[in-house]
Symmetry: C2
Subunit: 131 residues, 2 copies
Amino acid sequence: MIESKLTKNQSMVHTCLTQENGPMTAYAILDALREKGFRAPLQVYRALEKLTELKLVHRLESMSAFVACQHGTCEHSGAAVFAICDTCGTVAEFAAADVSKSLESHVKENGFVLKKTTIELRGECRQCYAV
Amino acid sequence: MIESKLTKNQSMVHTCLTQENGPMTAYAILDALREKGFRAPLQVYRALEKLTELKLVHRLESMSAFVACQHGTCEHSGAAVFAICDTCGTVAEFAAADVSKSLESHVKENGFVLKKTTIELRGECRQCYAV
DNA sequence: ATATGTAATGTAATAACATAACATACGAGA
DNA sequence: TCTCGTATGTTATGTTATTACATTACATAT
């Protein structure tokens, strides 16, 4: 598994996020890992940077939080889409190849070189809406 | 024009963003408006909240900044898409009805009630790429 | 004109998120 | 062993956003 390449701190942060099974802010991660010796935000941010680079973790821009990739390591065809429930905080991640393709073509027309796509959907999940 | 409904502070913030013709952080707006009497972040944030609600201003989540809607008041069919140049900072805003439609259908399958869509594309614009 | 209610504004303090700068440790080759 | 790159630790600081409370402005009822 890819985890084997991770350093101690990276691994701890990844495990923390995976167990949480939902988004956490960097400072929430820090608090969770204090008992394991973490002392400063930078320890978390450095690990998150690497994990994000490896696509083991995604950053949710609209809530300044981080979530473990729901596909282990992320190999979508195209950009990831996140559906975030404002009520319970759960995040569903999925690929939408057609969306990516469409955005790319829109953008190419204008000579824009696309490097990173952020798509975040806010709303209410089925369970919460039912209540 | 809709501006007539704005309060003094809201109007000043909107004018500031419109003149800038690009994204500004809340604190950049604050600094720009200090000479006009602004003293505290909250004055800016309150105005931005209202302007965002009216869709005269959009928040760019991936850069914690705000930009005046490039269509005056925003009446896209579907969600707005922002293409942000990481080199020069310019933002192009466009509608992508097909993208919105596709995202909506993806999401409906799972009973997710969509309230807000964020789509931000980071990369390099034609001019910057040419250099 | 005065009282009252409501929206907007002002101000200070602080919370929440993120990075800079520098010191130290530690393992993989020369 | 040396040393070079990578990871880590630590302090301080920078940046973004909100809470809490006081005051002002303005509309309208009395």
